[in-house]
């Protein structure tokens, strides 16, 4: 298909592969353009008939509905734009906490599946098989309607959680720390400690690589992270008070209220994703050849160091790509919140706002754009990490 061949005299344009390719692509572009044109003209005609003005003019209109969980200030008189941000933050909140929980549980189950203990590996396998073969929506409905709904309804029957918390059908009520003056210093001390810990860790690594002697890392890092904020807090006289939930006559006041929808969504998402992460972890650990472990042992490395410096670095290379797609799946699956009424982006924006304004095109397009950007951003971050752990060849 090179140029010399296509320029051969005597070959008709019809049989010239390059001319044909150009013609096909022109046809395809024309067809897609025609389709888009037809769709847009029909849509504008339909919108005109339904008397809906297109555009984001509704963005600054008053929303007029309330939202049960808001991370930023929001009230009935806030705008649709504000409601969008509330929904987006709620989605990000549940996705972030869910990713952490799913990772911890998934790694635990994945390692347990490879345990030499027969019972442990079988139980982990059972967990993975059962969870993976049931629809997530069913699991969410089960947690929300069957488990959390079976909690005590009346205030006085609430399950008491040690430390001053309550759990009942209306949600989980926990003591909320209230920081007084001086807490800001503790926060900056924490940031300082984390920076110091990172610096120490890279120094320790360089020293280990240069001299072969490994300075203690875990203990020092923990001390560096925890000590400065604790010292700062102690100097300021512990300016942290707890706002305990107070059972009133009909409801619990004060404290940190966690919606039952949030709890159900979090449990459902993290247990479901953990089953898939467990499979990725198992595959990654199995992908490290036995000889690597044996070689590390014959060098005299302890069991922990064998795992830490030989097995994990090689396994992570296999684990990270599927782990990324599971994190993305969890974020996308958080949109199932709409089925149990957790106020996430899809519920608030593609649900309530869409119904109130009728701006289907703008609302759906913006919702999709948000998820697309989250996907692209996460894969970007993960690609950076992946490049760091990827095999370094000559």
């Amino acid at each position: 298909m090179d140029a010399a061949e296509s320029a051969k005299p005597g070959v008709s344009l019809l049989n010239n592969p390059r001319a044909r390719a150009i013609a096909y692509q022109a046809l395809l572009c024309a067809a897609i353009a025609a389709l888009a044109y037809g769709a847009i003209t029909t849509a504008s005609a339909n919108l005109k008939r339904a008397k809906i003005a297109s555009g984001f003019g509704f963005w600054n209109d008053t929303a007029g509905f309330d939202i049960s969980q808001t991370l930023i200030e929001y009230s009935i008189t806030s705008t649709y734009g504000r409601a969008f941000w509330v929904g987006l933050l709620n989605t990000l909140l549940v996705a972030a906490i869910g990713i952490v929980l799913a990772t911890v549980l998934g790694f635990a189950v994945g390692i347990a599946r490879l345990s030499r203990n027969w019972l442990v590996s079988r139980l982990a396998g059972l967990y993975v098989e059962v969870i993976r073969n049931l629809p997530l929506l069913l699991q969410l409905l089960f947690w929300y309607n069957a488990v959390l709904n079976a909690l005590p309804e009346r205030l006085q029957d609430s399950i008491r959680i040690p430390g001053g918390g309550y759990l009942n059908r209306r949600g989980l009520f926990l003591p909320e720390p209230v920081f007084g003056s001086g807490a800001g210093i503790a926060l900056s001390a924490l940031v300082f400690g984390i920076i110091a810990a990172i610096a120490y860790r890279s120094w320790a690594k360089r020293r280990r690589e240069r001299t072969g002697f490994a300075p203690p890392v875990t203990v020092v890092v923990l001390a560096l992270v925890l000590a400065p904020p604790l010292v700062a807090l102690a100097l300021a006289g512990f300016p942290v008070a707890f706002d305990y939930p107070q059972p009133g006559r009909f409801n619990i006041h004060g404290g940190l209220e966690i919606l039952p929808e949030f709890i159900a969504l979090l449990i459902g998402l993290s247990t479901y994703t953990a089953a898939f992460i467990a499979e990725a972890v198992r595959a990654g650990l199995l992908a490290v050849p036995r000889g690597q472990t044996e070689a590390a042992q014959s060098l005299g490395l302890s069991a922990w160091r064998t795992v830490r410096f030989v097995v994990i670095p090689q396994a992570m290379r296999v684990i990270v790509p599927p782990l990324t797609s599971q994190y993305l799946n969890l974020t996308k699956n958080s949109s199932l919140a709409v089925a149990i009424g957790y106020p996430d982006l899809v519920h608030i924006f593609a649900g309530t706002v869409l119904n109130q304004t009728g701006q289907a095109v703008e609302v759906i397009a913006l919702t999709m754009a948000v998820y697309l950007s989250i996907s692209l951003f996460t894969s970007l971050l993960m690609n950076i990490y992946n490049r760091r752990v990827a095999i370094v060849e000559r």
């Binding site: 203990n117 993976r132 069957a146 899809v346």
Partner: protein, 381 residues
Amino acid sequence: MPPLQTAFVAPAPIPAAPPPRSETGVIAWLRANLFSSSLNIALTVLCVLLLFWTVPPLVKFLLLDAVWTGFDRESCLARPERPVVGACWAFVAERLNFFIYGFYPIEERWRVDIFFAALAFGIGWMTWLDAPRRGLGMLYFFLALPVASFVLLYGAPRLGLPIVETAKWGGVLVTVVVAAVGIVVALPIGILLALGRRSSMPAVRLFSVIYIEFVRGVPLITVLFMASVMLPLFLPEVWSPDKLLRALIGVAMFSAAYLAEVVRAGLQAIPRGQYEAAQALGLGYWKVMYLVILPQALKITIPNMVNSAIGLFKDTTLVFVVGIFDLLKTVEASRIDPKWATPVTSVTGYAFVGLFYFLGCYAMSRYSRYVEARLAQGERR
């Protein structure tokens, strides 16, 4: 000074060491697998406790204390003579026809049964790898079956089949229709998209990549919302598809993008020499693909395709969100029905749906593993 003793000769043979404690048998197995170290002993005890706390109550709830017969909620309520009530299977038994057919008219339900049988026949033909005339089976599965099923289920007054509006379809019927469309309609589109993504024409490649990455980057729910609220806007009013059809379009669009990636992986696994050899024989692009590449590529993608089918089968529950009566929705509607509402109805309904999906998905995953093992046979020495 006594002479230095230079050698030691044992006066008697050393007694034989006792044989190692049993290396086989139950005790040895238990020692090796459950009690090999103190950590393992602790883990074993923990697991046994976990099983002890979960399994007996589960068996009691699902089987021993369960209510098997009854006509309404009264039979599933706790009474003084039976203070503990388990799963209310009487509820599932009474509603079973609703769970399977939805609101499909009773006198027309034989049509649904024939559809199930024809689909099962087609699936059997496609999944039995040594079946005779698999080419004909493909034609049946991807062409004859969809057309015939539509006529059968929707109706054709000319053939004496009264029309049944899709609003009346429901339950397992809808779940199966959505899943089947997600495979039968989406697979050909997915193959085209995969070919497009590997095409040498930049415009074709660009559009394929944009489509695939766009759909894979957004949740299925937003695609379903798009299909249900945006599609009517973009189509002239006379063509406006009904609710189920809109959801089916959304599912097919979504599934096609995922299947395209599966097929692309298969295409990439075919060595270049196969393309070149086919071209050297003078075959054109479509003949190269149809006769040489796709038969090999599709064969090795069967396990992955079945895995996507499992995902799709589970995702069919999402049509629930756009208000379509699939199996999960029929159970949701029934469990809050005052006639059956008891504290155990919800759990029973969910257990039934769970069993349905678990059996379906588990069977598919076993099949996928079987095909994988079969394909690997050539690699084994």
